[in-house]
């Protein structure tokens, strides 16, 4: 399976290419009021209001976030379940029901995922969303689980909502 890999701060992350609908330069994101900084805001994606996730705030434990704040440059528009090709479904991939946008720092490259070796997730990364680490040449790439990420965002928010 091919993976799209990208930078967030100085770290490399990857997701299956099937889950990527489009990678583009950052468009305007309109902020929404609220405490959850992991949601960057909403954007107008071809007439549809779409939530934009700030991956950096999701993945890094606080502290590191502040140190590595840089200009965001790119965004990944994720594929929806309806848009997944049959091969992807055969591979057991899952996407959300509606489009979601991920903010990343930069695109790295497309890597053919011969999964040679797995490592436990790096300590400074919130490992909840990481399925494993892939090695490609000298680069270590953390593999991101999109369903876990979305689930984490939704359930965590519901918790905080109940708490308030």
């Amino acid at each position: 399976m091919k993976y799209a890999t990208f930078y967030i701060a100085d770290d490399l992350f990857g997701i299956p290419i099937y889950l990527v609908q489009e990678i583009s330069r950052q468009a305007t994101v309109d902020p929404i009021p609220g405490n959850d900084s992991r949601i960057e805001g909403l954007m107008n994606l071809r007439g549809r209001t779409t939530a934009v996730i700030n991956l950096k705030r999701c993945l890094f434990k606080s502290g590191i976030t502040a140190a590595s704040t840089g200009q965001r440059k790119k965004m990944i528009i994720l594929e929806t379940q309806d848009g997944l090709p049959q091969e992807a479904l055969d591979l057991g991939l899952n996407a959300g029901d509606e489009p979601v946008v991920l903010l990343i720092d930069d695109v790295f490259k497309i890597i053919d995922g011969e999964l040679e070796s797995f490592y436990p997730p790096p300590a400074h990364v919130n490992e909840t969303y990481i399925e494993g680490v892939m090695k490609s040449g000298e680069d270590l790439i953390s593999l991101l689980s999109i369903p876990k990420l979305i689930l984490g965002l939704v359930t965590h928010m519901e918790d905080t909502n109940h708490g308030s």
Partner: protein
Amino acid sequence: MTSRAKGWDVDTESEDLLKEFVAESAENLSAIEQTLLGLETNRSSKDVDEIFRAIHSVKGAAGFFQLTGIERVGHNAETLLEKIRSNDIPVTADIVDILLRARDTLSDMLFAPDFGNDLDIDELVAELKQAWSGHPDTAQTAPDERRFPANDQAEKALPENDKIENKPKEKNQTGPVSPETGTGLLSNGTEKSTIRIGVDVLDELLELIGEVVLGRNQFLTKYERDKPFQTLSQSITKLHQHVIQIRMQPIGHLFNKYKRTVRDLSRDLGKKIELHIDGGELELDRTILEALSDPLTHLVRNAVDHGIEKPGERSNSGKGILGNLYLRARHESGQILIEVEDDGKGIHPDVIRAKAIEKKLVTEAEAGLLSDKDVIHFIFHPGFSTQEHPTTLSGRGVGMDVVRNNLEKIGCMVDISSKPEKGTLIQARIPLTQAIVNSSVIAGLIINIGSYTLAIPQVAVNEVITLSPDVEMQQIARIKDQEVFKLRDKLIPLVHLEDILEIPRTYISNDGKKSQDRRQSFVDRRLEVPRGEAKKSRNQRTGADRRKDNLIFIVLQFKQNYFGVLVDRIMGKEEIVVKRLPQLIKHRRVFAGSTILGNGKVALILDINGLVEKAALNFSRHQETHHQAARRVMQDDKQQVVVFNYAPEEYFAVPVNLLSEIDKFKIKDVKKVGNREFIQRHGKSMPLLRLDKSLDVSSLEKPKEELIFLVPSRIKYPTGIVGCRIITHIELTENLNTKEADENGIMGTFFHNDELITLLDIFTLLQKFDPKRYHKKLSSNIEQCRILLAEDQIFFRQLIVQYFKSYGIKNITVCKNGKEALHALIAKPDEFDILVSDIEMPVMDGYQLVSTIKTDPRLRDIPAMALTSLNSEENIKKGMDAGFDAYEVKLDKDRVLHRISELYETNKTNPRNA
């Protein structure tokens, strides 16, 4: 539906035909229900024809599908109708009854598994036969029931053009259009062709047209002036309106359903009731109509069962035998008002009172203090039923609380009023905001708050108010912990939108630094210039300064209530397309949806319901009355008092406008220092005053876990007066008995609903409670002071005179207005030491009075003090400019007396008196 038709080889084509049959027959049957009901009162041959045709075509098609049960019932009903048509059989209530039952059975069978072929219809068929043959012989051999496709006789009897009913392919079919039209489009002779569409198709259409509007909006600024674009734009708006229109249905459809309910029920109960329908043409979204159906059924049943009396009872009480039930719908101030009213026996407040006491919802004494209007609302209390023996009709374990809850689910606000022997009126109000559905286009107010752009549905916006500095800010006050704004005759709670939306408040200080804004009240937040520092003069102020000074409030309407939110800027009005919220923010109930604005930006749409929930804005009845109470005080200065108790049977009253806060506290939170009790309030400790320690009143019999405190307003050191609970708010009439007044803090007593209530003199109470803080330090011979008081209101006259008397001042002359006071002064200029005058008075107000005496050399040295409830800075300035030497706010006894004393002292050293 698969394989429901016996003996029919089920393929796709026949399946489709069968579906068509069911849909069409259902329409036919549902259309004739109303016609049947009309038959009883007014037998018209046109109506009989219509019913006949409907039954005939159902029967015919059933024969085609070999649905024997339906065919049998249909056949016999048809035969009966045939005889009615030929005037062989008169239309009686019984005949209509049988026909109605036949109709119901046909309709049931249509949707039953196997088309009701297993249903026992023998009894009904026998009855029908008996009806048309005139004798009960079931073996009657008349027209062959199985004849196919239709009864010959019937076929012949039909006028030629009616036969098309059986031929679905025929164009311009004149069948009834909509399931519940009832009026029967057949009758008016105009032919309307109709098609049926699934609701999902409509929704899709709506979504698409939403996209079109959105696209149009984005071009709006660019091509606004282009003629072709304008035309296109208008067409789009119209198109959208039409699509919306399709989803709407007149509420008459729903109302008409109850004709049957009322007829059947009243017959069963031996009552005569006429149902009047008004405003049936008002249109509502289908979903809302569906939600209204059950609660209205319950209310209609209630009215027929419990409300309207039997004919005998009615004539005994001098009413017409015919009971009247009204169903009404109309628009009223941005809401849809639905009423169910009957002219029956009404609900007796005393019955409710007794029941409420029995159910321990109130004590007997408290129930006595509640007004009849308030008492009635207990019927919305869960488990509260006034019917001793619930009948099968309406007492099905469903109470009025369920009705109210169901209505509230769709945002309805329910109110009830009832007069014994006159009838009951129930009103449900649906805010128009409820009608917002996905992809619909609504008018929205686009606002800015912080760095966010949000949309507010226009229908929820009552008005927009810009508060300029100084003057209007005085209109903001605090009741309990809630800031309120006085808008004309209303007190409107103010809501901090930033808090609800979880936006950190930022405070931009004079040097441009941003920091967290911790100021709690709007009033504080406006004061950017520290006290004592001079304000920039007008021409020095920049635009930014001015913006910061002005507060923009949007008054939103929630159900019957209003509340205000503060916004930074209003961007304008726009037609917005409501879109679903992305999954990731769906849980935020403060947003109703999202939209894309003309500039391409995404904005969230505020959900008014959610806002209220999040703000925990309690529009409960208690608070409403509190606000109403305060409102009345502000409106016409009538004295409104809060009645509370301490020991169970002893009632005390305090004027509402003397209170800044009423709140509950827990005994376990009370800290004791020696004999004194304290409680934390706003982070500070506040002493608690127990009435039994200051006055000769009973103490609490048993300790309570929770009590209330009342904090007087306009005092330097807040003290909480402890009470047990708030009983009610009432208007103080002028029959205050001041003979009971004593030096310790009782102003007088009065009776309300036979209960003795003691009006407290808060300031004396506080003085006794804490002499060190509320000390007297008055002029030594203040008793000698001769005062001329100008005050138009009896209550305040009494109160102020009493203030003075409590300090030993006896020489008080009272005038009812400025003119009287002026005459008194001119007549005897040397007999008064001080003039104390109200501002707002008839004939001549305080300003005129003082400016006149200050220009009169004989009078101008008499110190004049304004004593008023107008306490804005502007009023004070105006008062001082007019010539008052002092300006004090009524009811602050301590300060008033001190000021009198000061003025008296200065005046004594005045050469005039030397």
